[in-house]
Structures are given as structure tokens and as C-alpha cells.
Amino acid sequence: MITVENLSFSYSKSPFISGMSFSVSEGEIFGFLGPSGAGKSTLQKILIGMLRTYQGSCIVNGVECKNRTKHFYENIGVDFEFSTMYEKLTAKENLQFFSSLYKKQPRPVDVLLKMVGLEQDADKRVADYSKGMKSRLNFIKALLHDPPLLCLDEPTSGLDPANSRMMKNMILEEKAKGKTILLTTHNMQDAAELCDRVAFIVNGKICALDSPHNLIMSKGAAAVTYTWIENGEHSASCSLEQISSDERLKSLIAENRLQSIHSSEPTLNDIFMDITGRTLL
């Protein structure tokens, strides 16, 4: 679906993106993770044909992005982080207009609005929408023409936990339909939950690329922390791999004296910090 080889791009004389190579298969959710200014959005703009002065090769849906035609956009749905709606028009009017630009039979606007819980506000002007409502509306705009490739930029940004959950479920539903999804985010939790593979991007380069599970496992086994009472509360830790050789833990279990025990796996964020030496915030 997407093949990028030796991609380089520059806004000035110094390179902004350099030597990027990766591929994304059909039906995959692929995440771009990185701090602000790392090059994630620029990469997305190249992939959707907005920036065409790059070097290397960037093939999306069989088309070299710099040679894209208008037809290219029949098969791509883009959800920007910011609202791209006519504020004076209602949500329904906006969706009807944008869906009319495509040759494909559009998905029913009312159904899409209902899916994101906006059916009651369909005839409200977008200017009167909250940030979260605009986010949801922006998302379904990308789905209007039922494209096989979705490019989502921070789709859960500004959403409350319930709506964020709903949005993530919708993304997984689209994946289940066989769609390829590019997810640009700095929310590690979302990436770990949704993505089949993620690429860590820092300073315009891919620092690591693998599935979230493999990346987490690469750090080593989870740690087990336990507490017990013996002249006050005490705690100790051991790695999950060596749990059977921890004599103190074995005796505490045998004597039924454990106060608490829990394991803690490294998060994708820990891995990101380990690999890049940077945080996402």
C-alpha cells in the first residue's frame, strides 16, 4: 500500500527529513510517534501529496506522491488535527458538500453523524461546536468517501475518555474492514493500543520501527514489586524472569505474609525515552 525509500525533504538548506525508508501493508495500522517538530506532520504531508519537492521515492496506492493527480484523493481520507470545516454552515451541510466532491457513492451522512454521537447536532452551525465535537466531525469527514487509506493526525486530541474510546473503536472497525491507517500521534497509549507497528521519529529520522509489543519486550521482562510487614512495611522487586529464584518472595508466599504484589511492564513511552533519549511532551 505504501512504500517509502530513502526519503529526504528540506524546508531550507539543512535536511528536515533524511534517509527514511519503510513500507506499510494493506490493512495495517501504522503509527508515527515523535515529539513536536520531529517531522511527523511533514511526513504525512508528503504521503498525501501536499509536499512534492522531496527526494527519494514515496509510493502510495501505486502512485509516486509527487506525480499524483486529482484521482489520487479518491482513495485517501485525511483527518487533520485542526478543524477544516465551514464554520458558518451546519455539520450536515459541511459533510454533504465535501462528500459531493468525490466520484464514489458517499457513506450516508446521517449514519456517520450517529456513529460519533452528533445526530442531535447535525443542523447546528459548526461555529457553535465544542473542540471535541469538531474533532469527531473532522474524523467522519475523512470517512465520507470510504477510502482504503486513512491518514489520521492526533484523532483523539481534545476528546474526553468516553469519546476517545468511541473514536478508537471506530478506528479499529475501519481496520477490520481492511483499511490501511496511518496514525500520527504523540499519545503512546493510543499508539500501543491501536497500531500494528510504530515508527519512532526524532529529528527527521526513524529511530526504531517495530510492533509495540516487540518494542516493549526489547527492553526486557517486567518487574514484580511486592510488600510485606516486618517491623513496619517493606518492599522489594525482582524481574519476572527470576521470580522463581527469589527466596524471600517464596517464603513470604509460603507464610502467607504478602501485603501486596504487582507487576509493571515497561510502557511504549519508556521504550521511546530509552531509544531516543527524549520524552514526547
Binding site: 524546508y11 484523493y73 485517501i76 485525511v78 487533520f80 470545516m85 466532491l101
Partner: protein, 241 residues
């Protein structure tokens, strides 16, 4: 073509929600009634009061000339304001990545309004003209006026970054129309100071009744439009970056 047409109708839908822009579109008709009926009445009243044979009537040609530029300037100004709003709302960036594309967008916002402006100018000028303009002159004036309107629209888009700035720039941009006035009031070679303005040559064509003067007007308009369009597209690309 379908996407271009739909995008143009979308602009009309936006206009319907904006009274200021809607009235701006109708302003040439109101101005036409004023020029055609109120000015001759005023002329009669003034000449009767001052017992002079003519006061305003020597300027009727100039009034026709300025009126010829009004519909296109207003239509193109309205398009520019809608486009600025779309830039503020970031819908432009989104429209560029739909089958409409950048070229389609430019056609919908400037091409179609310019064509409409051309026909509207030709019709309104035929109805409201104060002097005996030939059909050929009317068509040439409509074409010159349309190009002038496009220049005003592109000046607004190139030198302003939001609607508020757009209003201010629009007022300044309409000064480019004043080139048409120069040959009427300055007989010496000093008049050529305004010769880089296409409107100067339109004014000269009407005043001296030499249609050939429309040629430099068209060439200059094309040059202005080319350079402004290039700057405007550069500005849009900066926004995308």
C-alpha cells in the same frame, strides 16, 4: 468540472450566510440605478440652478468607465473575502487534497466569478450606461473591468492574512482603478505616471476613442495577474508547510 461547479455553489451557500458580502454583490445594481437615473436628474437640477449648460455631463464617459469596473471588482472582492475566510478556517488546505485540487479551487473561486463578472458587466453597462457606447466598446470594457477585478482580488489575497486585513487591503487595492481617471484630468505627459496600471489604458481607450489602447491594458493585466498569482500560490504553500 463537477467538483469545480459544486465548489462554486458552495461559495454561494457561504455568501447566503454573510449579509455584507451578499449586499456587495448587489451593490453594482444599486449603483447602476443611481448612475443612470439620479445623476442626470442631479445634472438637470444643477444646470438649472447655476444657469450653465453642463456640469456633470462632460464626465459621463468617466462615470461609465468607472461603472464598468464596479461589478467585476465587487464580485472578485467577494470571492477574495470568501477565500480569505476559507484560509482562516483552513478549509483551503483540505480542499486541495480532495478531487477539487488547487487548480480546481482557483477556477471555482476566481475563474467562474470572473466569467460571471464579464457577462454581468456587459449587461449592466448596456442597461445603465450614460453615453452611447458601441457593443464592441461595452465588450472591451467588460473584459478590461473583469481583469481589473481579478487584480483587486489577488491584491487582497496576497497582502492580507485574514478577513479584517482583507477589508483594509481591498480599500487600498481599489485605488488601482484610479488610473482610469488620470487621462481625463491630466493632459500633459505626467499622466503616464499611472501607465503601469491597466486602468490607465482603459481610460485612455475611452477618452480618445482608440480601442487599440485596450491591448496594453490586457497585456499589463496579464502581467499583474501572473505575478500576483505566483505570490498568492507561494503564500498558500507557506501555509501548507
Amino acid at each position: 468540472m463537477r467538483a469545480i461547479r459544486l465548489s462554486f455553489f458552495q461559495m454561494i451557500a457561504v455568501l447566503r450566510r454573510d449579509m455584507m458580502l451578499l449586499v456587495s454583490c448587489l451593490a453594482p445594481i444599486l449603483a447602476g440605478f443611481f448612475f443612470r437615473f439620479a445623476i442626470p436628474l442631479l445634472e438637470t437640477a444643477l444646470t438649472d440652478s447655476f444657469h450653465i449648460t453642463s456640469i456633470i455631463s462632460p464626465c459621463y464617459e468617466l462615470i461609465d468607465l468607472l461603472f464598468a469596473m464596479l461589478p467585476s471588482t465587487m464580485f472578485c472582492f467577494v470571492s477574495a473575502m470568501v477565500s480569505l475566510e476559507e484560509r482562516d478556517e483552513k478549509t483551503v488546505s483540505y480542499l486541495f487534497i480532495t478531487p477539487l485540487g488547487k487548480t480546481g479551487y482557483l477556477f471555482a473561486r476566481f475563474g467562474i466569478p470572473a466569467v460571471i463578472a464579464f457577462f454581468a458587466t456587459a449587461i449592466l453597462l448596456s442597461v445603465f450606461k450614460l453615453t452611447a457606447l458601441s457593443p464592441l466598446t461595452i465588450l472591451l470594457l467588460a473584459a478590461g473591468g473583469t481583469l481589473q477585478g481579478m487584480i483587486v482580488a489577488l491584491l487582497v489575497l496576497t497582502f492580507s492574512s485574514n478577513k479584517l486585513e482583507g477589508m483594509a487591503v481591498a480599500k487600498l487595492s481599489t485605488l488601482t482603478i484610479l488610473g482610469a481617471v488620470t487621462p481625463f484630468f491630466i493632459q500633459s505627459d505626467t499622466q503616464y505616471v499611472t501607465s503601469p496600471l491597466p486602468s490607465f489604458w482603459i481610460g485612455k481607450a475611452i477618452l480618445e476613442d482608440v480601442p487599440l489602447y485596450m491591448l496594453p491594458a490586457f497585456v499589463l493585466s496579464a502581467m499583474w495577474i501572473y505575478f500576483l498569482l505566483k505570490r498568492y500560490l507561494g503564500k498558500i504553500q507557506e501555509k501548507i508547510n
